[in-house]
């Protein structure tokens, strides 16, 4: 029973009127069935009607029912000429019976208006059936005794038994009729209707035979038929028609019995009619109580069976739907399976529309692509409906919407309400489709008529929605996977390099187009190491190639094994191959960051780059050589002086020796000294020439580990005479413990020579006393070696600082401007750095930083 607030006054009036009418009818019947002059009726339905009304209404509205009954009671009983006080007191006792009965039932039963479980039936029988009449009987008997002088216990007895019977027979009948209403009757099949009719006729017949044989006008031969004769019929009723049937049958029998008693029938020999009636009532009550229990048990079982059946149907739906998802191959079948799932759900729950709501980017519309609608429902043109922003926002929050009537949606859902009402939908149930904490949409169920969505229904829809959400999520992630796979494949095949993916053991599990071509023998890069087909073990291929003497393969093998065994986080190398012509390749190995391990191997042909590098190297060496020779030219004067000294010594000594030999006696001892000096001088001259040759020789490609201090000292001897000629003081501040460097001796000598000559020339124009050059060596940062040459010259002009190392930059009239450019190219080819800065007081400092040999070997 519903309580729409806005119409409560109207509802109250109706209820009061109905109760009043029922009460009046009850009074008419009850007043007719009395043993005059007794006040108490033998069948008094008004109390039971009141009880039924109270059971049907919540306790807060009970006053409405009582108020509806009051005027009728007053009118009827005062018209009998009874004193007002008595009438009022009787009303109170009548009300108390209904209140006690309905109250106890309310307390004990989980659904006071139903009798379909043992608990509910028990609560009704105990509360409304027994406790109400018995307890209120005490007050009633007292009132009747006080006003009418009738014996107290007689009254009590009469009233209690009749009212117990009335309560049991009338209340379920009324309550069930109101709650089930006409729909209950409509649901009866024709066979059931016929059965009920036959049963009624039998009951009336047997009732008359048993309870009022005289009234029937004839009697069955033999003894009077015992009361138990009706029991089979009552059983039949209980089994087939439940509590309502029992109640109806009881009411029939009570009416017959009461009427018969009133008209003098006596089913029990030797008893007064009133006593006989009590005996009858007691028997009927005693028979009916277990029958109520039987009916409730049957209902309970029937209900459990029905619930089981519905659960089975639901589980079948789940099983079928998930099976069809599993079986579906391809998008089309999957969509069909999805639609079938919607259809099954709609049919099971008997709704008019089942709709999959998309919640995508900007998804504010009802999306009608996935929907099912019942045959009986009107066509829903969902695509042309309005928007449902509120529903979608609730879905995004992951909250369901359970709405019996869309008109009760909150104000912020105005648009949604209009859209749904425009489709002719009254009740909606919307649950979010969430799989793996990701919202994939919503499931909307709707009916044209108002519908109370039971928690069970909501639970079932949520279960189905989980199933659908998983399917949607799975399909979406499959799509994503497929597109990401496609992207990876496209990227791989667009690469000009040869790429292969290896598993942990080195087996090739995937390759790109370039690799595939070479593996088939098509590509240009046939010299790349170990390119073989998918499935081959790349490690094994490399091992075979290395064993056959392929040096590139053995290097690749080592690097690959390191990466696959996680000893290295990557590997890169360059190798050359002469098959079929000389080509260079760069190989990289990158580990696959996944639990199964593996690596990605790629080969890129770098022949062009390598060739350019070799060309550049050669050009640089030629330029270096040229520059060195020209630097030597600048040193010619100094060198000539160096060579001239020993030659002069030799020449003069030789002439002195001739004179000694010409003398008499020849000074042989002197000549011996002279010859020793000549030998020394000639050796010295040879040394000078050797030194010069060393500077002239073209650089070889080999590098070695060099001592920077020794290197500086070699160069210093070369310029020593120059410094003397130019009257420049050169001081050395060398740290003999600096790390050694790896490089070309002559090239690095060239750099030092260049810096020294530059420094010596820089101080040419300053006064002789101030001409100073300081050469320093020391440790730089991170194991490098730092050499600086500081002069006391005019320093670098601001313009020169940026361009001094550029080719053809020169401040010298005779210079080429190549010296520092070449020095820089040499230093940088050694992984070092060269720079110049002005000294704070005067002059410039040129610095060279070279990596230590330990780092340089890496």
């Amino acid at each position: 029973v519903r309580w729409p607030d806005q119409a409560s006054w109207w509802w109250a009036l109706c209820t009061a009127g109905l109760v009043g009418l029922g009460y009046y009818l009850g009074v008419l019947i009850g007043s007719a069935l009395r043993f005059p002059p007794a006040t108490t009726s033998v069948l008094w339905p008004p109390n039971s009607i009141l009880t039924a009304a109270l059971l049907l209404t919540p306790p807060s509205r009970w006053w409405v029912c009582l108020a509806g009954a009051l005027p009728v009671h007053l009118y009827v009983q005062t018209s009998l000429g009874w004193p007002l006080a008595m009438v009022g007191a009787l009303f109170l006792t009548n009300c108390s019976e209904a209140l006690i009965g309905a109250g106890l039932t309310h307390v004990c039963s989980d659904a006071p208006s139903r009798f379909d479980t043992l608990r509910r039936a028990g609560a009704f029988v105990a509360g409304a059936g027994l406790a109400g009449p018995i307890l209120s009987g005490f007050g009633d008997a007292a009132v009747v005794e006080a006003f009418r002088g009738e014996p107290y216990w007689n009254v009590w007895q009469t009233r209690v038994f009749s009212n117990v019977l009335t309560e049991l027979s009338v209340v379920p009948l009324i309550v069930l009729t109101v709650t089930a209403g006409t729909s209950c009757l409509g649901r009866l099949t024709r066979a059931q209707f016929a059965e009920a009719l036959v049963l009624g006729v039998f009951l009336v017949g047997v009732g008359i035979f048993v309870l009022a044989p005289e009234a029937a006008g004839f009697s069955v031969p033999g003894e009077a038929m015992p009361m138990v004769s009706v029991l089979p019929l009552l059983f039949w009723t209980a089994i087939r028609f439940g509590a309502g049937g029992i109640s109806s049958a009881l009411f029939l029998l009570a009416l017959i019995a009461s009427s018969a008693a009133i008209f003098g029938s006596r089913p029990f020999e030797g008893l007064a009619p009133s006593e006989s009636l009590i005996a009858l009532q007691v028997r009927l009550v005693l028979m009916s109580i277990p029958l109520f229990a039987v009916a409730a048990l049957l209902d309970e079982r029937h209900g459990a069976g029905a619930e089981l059946a519905s659960r089975l149907r639901f589980e079948e739906l789940l099983a079928r739907t998930s099976a069809s998802f599993v079986r579906a191959r391809g998008t089309e079948e999957a969509e069909t399976a999805f639609d079938d799932g919607l259809m099954r759900l709609g049919m099971l729950l008997d709704v008019d529309l089942v709709l999959f709501l998309k919640v995508g980017a900007g998804g504010r519309e009802l999306d009608g692509t996935r929907q099912w609608r019942s045959d009986s429902s009107p066509r829903f043109d969902v695509s042309r409906s309005g928007q449902v922003p509120w529903i979608l926002s609730r879905l995004r929050e992951g909250r369901p919407i359970i709405c019996e009537d869309v008109s009760t949606l909150p104000d912020e859902a105005n648009g949604d309400r209009v859209a749904l009402a425009g489709l002719g939908l009254r009740s909606v149930l919307v649950v979010p489709l969430v799989a793996g904490s990701r919202l994939h949409g919503g499931l909307l169920l709707a009916t044209v008529a108002a519908r109370d969505w039971s928690p069970q229904t909501v639970g079932q829809v949520q279960l189905v929605s989980e199933l659908l959400a998983n399917e949607v999520g799975r399909r979406r992630s499959e799509d994503e996977l497929r597109s990401s796979e496609a992207m990876k494949t496209a990227i791989l095949s667009s690469l000009p390099s040869l790429v292969a993916v290896l598993d942990r053991t080195g087996r090739i599990i995937a390759v790109n187009q370039g690799w595939l071509d070479v593996a088939r023998g098509d590509g240009d890069s046939r010299g790349a190491v170990g390119v073989s087909a998918v499935g081959a073990n790349y490690l094994a291929v490399c091992r075979r190639a290395a064993a056959a003497g392929d040096s590139g393969a053995s290097v690749a093998l080592g690097g690959l094994e390191d990466v696959l065994s996680a000893r290295a986080d990557g590997f890169a190398t360059e190798y050359s191959s002469t098959d079929p012509i000389t080509r260079w390749y760069a190989m990289t190995v990158v580990p696959l960051r996944r639990s199964e391990g593996g690596a990605v191997v790629s080969h890129v042909e770098v022949t062009e780059r390598k060739r350019a590098e070799v060309d550049a190297q050669r050009a640089r060496q030629e330029l270096t050589h040229f520059a060195r020779v020209s630097a030597m030219g600048e040193l010619t004067a100094s060198l000539a002086h160096q060579l001239n000294q020993p030659l002069t010594g030799i020449s003069i000594n030789a002439q002195a020796a001739r004179r000694c030999l010409d003398a008499t006696p020849p000074a042989v001892a002197e000549v011996r000294d002279i010859v020793i000096d000549i030998i020394d001088d000639s050796l010295r001259a040879g040394e000078v020439i050797r030194n010069m040759r060393g500077m002239m020789v073209r650089t070889s490609g080999e590098s070695s580990v060099l001592d920077v201090t020794a290197l500086i000292r070699d160069v210093a001897t070369l310029v020593a005479s120059d410094t003397i000629i130019r009257n420049v003081s050169v001081t050395f501040d060398l740290d003999s413990r600096v790390p050694r460097v790896r490089g070309h001796r002559v090239e690095l000598q060239q750099v030092m020579l260049n810096l020294l000559v530059n420094a010596i020339e820089a101080v040419a124009d300053v006064p002789p006393a101030e001409r100073g050059v300081i050469v320093r060596s020391g440790r730089g940062s991170s194991g490098s070696v730092l050499v600086s040459v500081q002069d006391s010259g005019p320093g670098l002009s601001p313009d020169a600082e940026g361009t001094i190392f550029e080719p053809f930059f020169t401040t010298k009239t005779g210079g080429m401007g190549m010296g520092l450019a070449i020095a820089r190219s040499i230093v940088e080819s050694h992984g070092g750095r060269i720079w110049a800065e002005n000294h704070s007081q005067r002059g410039a400092t040129f610095c060279v930083s070279l990596p230590g040999a330990d780092e340089a070997t890496m």
């Binding site: 004067a637 001239n644 000294q645 002069t648 010594g649 020449s651 003069i652 002439q655 002195a656 009257n727």
Partner: protein, 136 residues
């Protein structure tokens, strides 16, 4: 009283210095060697007659520097300049500053000995002339 004529050899290069000194000794001269102009200037007394054989290129004071210093001090000593790489400009400068001879290494021994002999005679005459001047 005339002291033994002395030839001073001033050259920073040991082998050249030793060779020249030896040649002069073999030719009968008394020889004193100095490895720099400063070392020569530091000598307290220079017995006359004397002749100087000086290398032009030396650290600090060059041969020309020494010649100029002596002239400024008024010590008019005959000087034979020797050099590793002589060129016309240097020869002209040597002539202008009054050097006795300008020899480019290596040179024939006769040229040096003649020049030294000439120098010593010139200094001898110079000494006796100044002695006479002093007497008068």
């Amino acid at each position: 009283v005339t002291a033994t004529p002395t030839v001073y050899v001033i050259d920073d290069d040991l082998s050249v210095r030793r060779a020249i000194a030896r040649l002069l000794r073999v030719a009968g001269h008394k020889v004193v060697t100095c490895d720099s102009a400063d070392a020569f200037l530091a000598l307290k007394t220079i017995p006359r007659p004397a002749c100087l054989v000086v290398d032009v290129r030396m650290p600090n004071l060059t041969g020309f520097d020494l010649q100029q210093t002596l002239r400024l001090e008024g010590r008019n000593l005959p000087i034979v300049l020797i050099t590793g790489h002589g060129h016309a400009a240097m020869a002209a400068r040597a002539a202008a500053t009054g050097a006795l001879a300008f020899l480019v290494k290596p040179f024939p021994d006769g040229v040096l000995l003649d020049a030294v002999q000439t120098g010593l005679q010139m200094d001898q005459e110079e000494q006796s002339r100044s002695a006479r001047t002093d007497d008068t």
